[in-house]
């Protein structure tokens, strides 16, 4: 039994590269190949924290670069030295770069026509929020002090209740299925797709 699978190809990462420039190049390259193949968001895990970002006119904007959007929050900066893994993603594709003992590795997943997948919505941390004029929303959970800023403002807030979210923000994840030799199905690949705040 064959299931239509997405394309998954390794990407070359030069030895000495600028992370921000390399990510911007990947996004521009995909958009050049197909105008509807846009990478919108960035989610990175680094030694010093979780970093959200988004592409605006081909430029990568994170919570700390080019300007510190939330100076009161001490969000980490995206840098090669502390990066564990980073994904830039859109509706059709995702580029992922991750650190290994032998340097960085990267790959590109692109959905083909009729690619089959299982969608999953993963709830993001935060019951309350505050929009930022630069396209980010600061999220926190009740009285707990943990905060993060998602590059997404299409979030309904209840102003009367101190910015309580009407619906929780969700990360759309796509899982791809494969069968092993004995016919057992398993998720063999997953990627991030989008952010949403729609009611389920």
């Amino acid at each position: 039994m064959t299931i239509p699978k997405p394309k998954c190809n390794p990407l070359e990462v030069p030895c000495d590269f600028n992370l921000k420039t390399w990510l911007e190049e990947q996004a521009q390259q995909l958009e050049k190949e197909s105008s509807d193949n846009q990478l919108n968001y960035l989610l990175a895990h680094a030694d010093d924290g979780v970093i959200w970002g988004k592409f605006q006119n081909g430029e990568l904007i994170t919570t700390t670069e080019p300007v510190k959007l939330f100076p009161e929050c001490d969000f980490p900066t995206l840098r090669k030295e502390t990066l564990q893994q980073c994904r830039i993603f859109g509706h059709k594709s995702e580029v992922m770069i991750w650190k290994t003992d032998g340097g960085f590795k990267a790959r590109l997943i692109e959905d083909e026509e009729k690619t089959e997948f299982i969608p999953e919505l993963q709830i993001l941390w935060g019951t309350h929020g505050e929009h930022h004029p630069n396209g980010f929303t600061l999220l926190w959970d009740g009285s707990q002090g943990l905060q993060h800023a998602v590059p997404f403002t299409d979030i309904e807030l209840e102003e009367k209740e101190n910015g309580k979210l009407k619906n929780k923000v969700r990360l759309i994840v796509r899982h791809y299925i494969d069968y092993d030799d004995s016919g057992v199905a398993r998720i063999y690949l997953s990627r991030l797709v989008d952010l949403t705040n729609k009611e389920i």
Binding site: C8, D48, Q85, M96, A106, R107, I109, G145, Y188
Partner: protein, 573 residues
């Protein structure tokens, strides 16, 4: 491998939350994760070096040590603290071990464990189909083991389950709509775990040791609710450290197959950047790292997968949850050609893998791997549960050392007891000794001998007030007596020989084969005061033995006493 090893004695239950059980409850890992140990050591390092929360701790220019000590798996790795039994760090029970269904392990009776990774498939079938054996194999529930040849001690971590209910912050109690009941399944207090930090240099070793000096530590979750207190006991780290006893070369050379056992959960990426718990991906990674194509033996995979996560206090967020190959997973690969030219390279690579681990989060103790841990000829083990009462008795015997003042008092008491016993032995010994012809020796010769013996005794007593390395040697000290015996005028020499006094003195002064040792061992009052096969008195862990200087001192006292006795007897006559 340079390592900092230490013990963690749990004083309160420890909540090292894993991703199991009911979502409303927290179930702890049965060990203290390396990430938790790394976390508290980072906290101590920041405090000690007065580094502020907002400082960029990962800036190598400003703080050159931080990345090397806490964030780089190539230089430092914080291994999981596994339970300590029999003064050894246990390891995860191999998942190739099976018991017969229904068998329960006990502390006194040995039961059989079958290692299916060593038993050929045909024999496995025979075991399960045989009418007499009729083995119904089941995996072991005990998480940790200690292996000594074909004997195994199993250990199941004691747990504490507490029920809590959510309280309203303002009213201090559960209210309608906010009073959920949940449970914490934690590692119980009163257990000991051994932690290990692997590092590359002596400098790093001493920095980490200095962070472990303060003995009280709080680990894991719910620290404000009576969880997490443990005490640190730093161990001696002046030796190379290996997670299993024999070196990797012996293990790899002596066995036909290559068996890989995971000593901690292992997170691996496949070529697509997907974290998988797939043995095939592990095989590829190991083949690349060893530079040798490995091939699974038929029926050679005994693995399971789990989901791992965690919490990063710096992030203030939970870590991404990922699948991992579970600790204790066993993979058997087909024989590698050890005679080939590539074997040395293979061995070096294998050593490197054992040292560095494989996969992700190695700095937190993930990805520990060992080659050919268990002897391939041992197919069955005799196993019983570890008896904690036995350890408690042993621990009571090996209490922590006394403080210096108390130690001095204890040594003083032991010293006085030794001397009192020796005084008694001398009295008994004097009464037993009788010279052959005491009337043959004149009082002036006896006085001369006593004078020299007293002078030497005075010097021996003085030498004992000095440090051992500053003392004069025994030969030097007894020289005046030897000179006396050798330089006697012919008449006096005859007197000494006829009375056999020379012979007795020489026997007495032989401190190597001392009369004192023999008498101490045979006397009913002292024969029970023997430790490590030496006459010894032990008070509160402090001991006092009979060294050569005490032996010489009491030999001289004996000579003086015997001489006095002869003079007295002669005078009475």
């Amino acid at each position: 491998m340079k390592a900092v090893t230490f013990l963690l004695h749990t004083q309160q239950p420890i909540l090292a939350t894993s991703l199991q059980g009911d979502p409303n409850s927290d179930v702890s890992h049965p060990y203290i994760p390396g990430s938790m140990i790394r976390g508290f050591l980072i906290g101590r390092y920041l405090q000690k070096n007065r580094i502020k929360v907002n400082d960029d701790t990962l800036d190598i220019q400003q703080l050159p040590n931080v990345k090397r000590l806490f964030f780089d798996a190539k230089t430092t790795r914080y291994l999981n603290a596994y339970p300590l039994i029999d003064n050894k760090r246990t390891l995860p029970t191999p998942r190739s071990w099976y018991k017969d269904k229904g068998v329960t392990f006990s502390e006194d009776k040995e039961k059989t464990i079958y290692d299916f990774s060593k038993i050929p498939l045909e024999e496995q079938k025979e075991l399960t189909n045989d009418y007499e054996e009729n083995l119904s194999p089941k995996l072991l529930e005990e998480n940790f083991c200690l292996v000594d040849e074909d004997e195994v001690l199993l250990y199941k971590v004691k747990r504490r389950i507490n029920i809590h209910n959510k309280r309203d912050r303002k009213r201090g109690k559960g209210i309608e709509g906010s009073g959920a009941v949940f449970s914490y399944d934690a590692i119980d207090a009163g257990q000991t775990f051994q932690g290990v930090v692997l590092c590359e240099t002596e400098e790093d070793q001493s920095i980490i040791e200095s962070l472990l000096q303060h003995k009280d530590v709080w680990l894991g979750g719910s620290q404000s609710a009576g969880y997490g207190h443990a005490e640190i006991q730093l161990l001696n780290n002046n030796h190379e450290y290996y997670e299993v006893e024999s070196a990797s070369r012996e293990r790899i050379e002596n066995q036909a197959n290559l068996t890989v056992t995971l000593l901690s959960d292992t997170i691996i990426y496949n070529e697509c950047g997907q974290i998988v718990s797939n043995p095939e991906t592990l095989r590829q990674i190991l083949s690349d790292a060893l530079n040798q194509e490995l091939k699974f033996q038929e029926n050679g995979i005994y693995a399971s997968s789990i989901i791992v996560g965690g919490f990063n206090r710096k992030w203030g967020l939970p870590l991404p949850q990922t699948p991992a190959l579970a600790a204790g997973s066993v993979f058997v690969f087909e024989n590698i050609d050890i005679s080939s030219d590539k074997f040395h390279e293979f061995l070096d690579n294998a050593k490197k893998i054992e040292k560095q681990g494989i996969g992700e989060r190695r700095v937190d103790g993930f990805g520990r791997v060992i080659f050919n841990w268990l002897n391939e000829e041992t197919e069955e083990y005799k196993a019983k549960l570890f008896n904690p009462e036995f350890q408690t008795t042993q621990q009571a015997q090996n209490k922590e050392p006394l403080k210096s003042e108390s130690s001095k008092i204890a040594v003083g008491i032991a010293n006085r007891i030794v001397r009192k016993k020796l005084d008694d032995l001398i009295i008994q010994q004097v009464s037993k000794i009788s010279l052959t012809n005491p009337e043959e020796i004149s009082n002036s010769q006896l006085s001369r001998l006593m004078l020299v013996a007293r002078q030497v005794l005075y010097e021996v007593e003085f030498e004992q007030t000095k440090y051992e390395n500053e003392r004069r040697s025994i030969t030097e000290l007894v020289e005046p007596i030897n000179n006396l015996l050798h330089n006697l005028p012919s008449n006096a020499l005859k007197q000494f020989e006829r009375s056999k006094l020379t012979e007795n003195i020489k026997q007495c002064l032989n401190v190597e084969d001392s009369w004192l040792q023999n008498v101490w061992r045979s006397n009913p009052e002292t024969k029970h005061l023997i430790a490590d096969d030496q006459p010894k008195v032990i008070i509160a862990g402090e001991d006092k033995d009979i060294d050569t200087y005490i032996t010489l001192e009491y030999s001289l006292r004996l000579i003086i006493a015997v001489v006095k006795k002869i003079m007295k007897e002669k005078n009475n006559d």
